[in-house]
Symmetry: C2
Subunit: 373 residues, 2 copies
């Protein structure tokens, strides 16, 4: 949800109508619920020649998790690196490979990993039934035919990709989500045990994706009671996880639910200043989303005073040291690029500040913040 390029996803009150939001069709939550996957897939198998394709983060290659994947017939596991953001080209290559390797369309796609794997799986399930490449569908409601059955199994918590109706992809000339009702997963398995073993830094940055999103949307002007209720819930859970005294098991449970509720809160809300400026960092320097948000957010006390106090407490509590001097050697032209990109995110500024945001958000203002990073 709260990745860079959803920023154009304005919470619609278009023609005085509210977005009709698609939910994940089915969800199972529980420790080791991953082991129900075989039973869940069975009624969705079209026949023996229509395989399930498992797209799995390659950090799991050779691990016990892979042995637990319920392969039968001609099912296939494809390992995918999540080191870089998912690309339209990558989706097209996967689709081509699947169409070449099998005579039949698959019974379904199962994505196992973080936001990158989940978004790739959504996109592959769409492009398998819709002509042309993934780039054709970046935008809003461009998908014509129903995607094939697709299952998401998050192995890290915070992005909200498990509930969103978008699949954010880097395309040939833009980075933008495939936003459609067919994007949303048919099935999610929430198994908190799968998030064991994530490094402390990744756990923190990905969780902060959820936390910062909540702060931005709850303090925004676009909010309604639906999104507010989910956002508050996610925020409370983040506070428990990062500032409370939970057992590791409770902490995994609650962060998984924070991500779920945070993702749901996007239905009628929007992100704000941190996401807009993080987008600039990401565009110019390739800074990844989670850490990029943190780098910006720490300097946004004037916009989100309580949120930044909480963020700093969380950071200190977990001994997270953010890198410094990221913008130290940038040229004026570099700064201008970031500023133009950030200021282009109009809905985010409008959500954060209001209709008259241009009165206070000037290039000089943004430069002064970037210089601190």
């Amino acid at each position: 949800m709260n990745r860079d390029f959803e920023v154009k996803e304005v919470p619609e009150i278009i023609n005085a109508s509210y977005r009709n939001f698609p939910l994940v069709a089915k969800v199972v939550f529980g420790k080791n619920s991953f082991d129900q996957l075989g039973e869940i897939l069975m009624p969705n198998r079209k026949h023996a020649d229509a395989p399930f394709i498992f797209l799995v983060d390659d950090v799991f290659e050779g691990t016990d998790l892979v042995k637990r994947i319920p392969l039968i017939f001609n099912d296939l596991v494809i390992f995918v690196s999540a080191d870089e953001e998912p690309k339209t080209n990558q989706v097209d290559v996967l689709v081509e490979r699947i169409l070449e390797d099998f005579n039949e369309l698959p019974s379904g796609i199962v994505g196992i990993g973080g936001g990158t794997l989940l978004d790739l799986s959504k996109a592959v399930s769409i492009v398998l039934t819709n002509k042309g490449g993934a780039a054709n569908y970046q935008g809003w409601d461009l998908v014509q035919k129903a995607s094939i059955y697709h299952v998401g199994i998050p192995t890290i918590s915070g992005t909200g990709a498990e509930v969103s109706r978008t699949a954010v992809l880097l395309g040939p000339d833009r980075k933008l989500g495939i936003n459609s009702d067919y994007t949303t997963f048919n099935q999610i398995i929430l198994d908190p045990n799968l998030t064991q073993g994530v490094s402390k830094e990744q756990w923190f940055y990905t969780g902060m994706d959820c936390f910062i999103h909540c702060i931005e949307s709850l303090n925004g002007t676009y909010l309604n009671a639906f999104s507010q209720s989910y956002g508050k819930n996610a925020l409370e859970l983040c506070k428990e996880v990062y500032l409370g005294d939970l057992t590791p098991s409770e902490s995994r449970d609650k962060l998984m639910m924070a991500s779920w509720h945070g993702g749901m809160s996007i239905a009628y809300s929007q992100v704000g200043v941190a996401h807009a400026m993080s987008y600039g960092l990401s565009f110019l320097l390739g800074v990844k989303h989670g850490i990029g948000n943190c780098l910006v957010f720490q300097h946004l006390a004037e916009f989100y005073p309580e949120g930044v106090v909480l963020f700093n407490r969380m950071k200190e509590r977990h001994g997270i040291v953010l890198p410094k001097g990221i913008c130290a050697n940038l040229s004026d032209s570099d700064y201008d690029t970031m500023i133009v990109v950030a200021m282009g995110m109009e809905p985010l500024w409008e959500n954060a500040i209001g209709k008259n945001w241009r009165d206070s958000i000037t290039p000089e203002k943004l430069r002064s913040i970037y210089e601190k990073i």
Copy 2:
């Protein structure tokens, strides 16, 4: 959700597997979102001869709301009284009428009203495609064929029927839900403006359905992090609505969301002492669900000390006076009947007290509580 006969709906950890919970397919939230109904139904119209059937609480007969129903072609509005609990026989009569009046199966069913209308609509959509009467499907996962498209539009908040996978019906020899994945609505429209005009008492009792459910599930032994997060959210919203200082508009928004989250929390939780004992009252005396729960709950301070304190504050704040002497003239045999019925709700007691609940929950104990009512 929290009506009498869902009590048998044990939150499944059957064979160490967790329930795979179906969600409502699409939801729209917003004031006057009811006016999007025509647009929402259009792509779901099979053709001009396959009507939409609108089942509407007869309190709305002749009101402006009925004029706003987007009727086209041979669509039909059927007014239904919600004075009594919905019955399997009532479902069968509606299905027969629809099958006789039209050559085609309807494009869909739209339920407009409270829990009674929502549950009737779910059941009609199932029995239209599954042979035999509604009573054949009371139980768990007995529905074989997909129901027809069905839409729920609540006009009062608290029951959670808008998100549950059950349709609770009074049958020829039992009152029990049609619990199935096909029961869940395909579309929900949450328009808080539709809850205007509800009497203060009905507003209180139906909202307390949600509040008491939350207290029982959050204090139960069955809870997991998924249901806890929804239950806490619903509880906080109930506190804001009944003890806060909201505008009427905010209050309607938040109670609608409380009901939604409270309903979701049923996925992996169970109700407790108030519901078990209220079931006894309902069985013997026909006391309706919302008020029945209140009548019991006020005397449950030893089980739910904080919950009862909150309940009493809410009751006083809104000048609600519960009837007294309900059990004053009952015979020993009457008391025994209620006690047998209440103690039969084993999962509720186990959830509330634990596996050894029979050590403390004796007939004498329950009689002493009933005598106060």
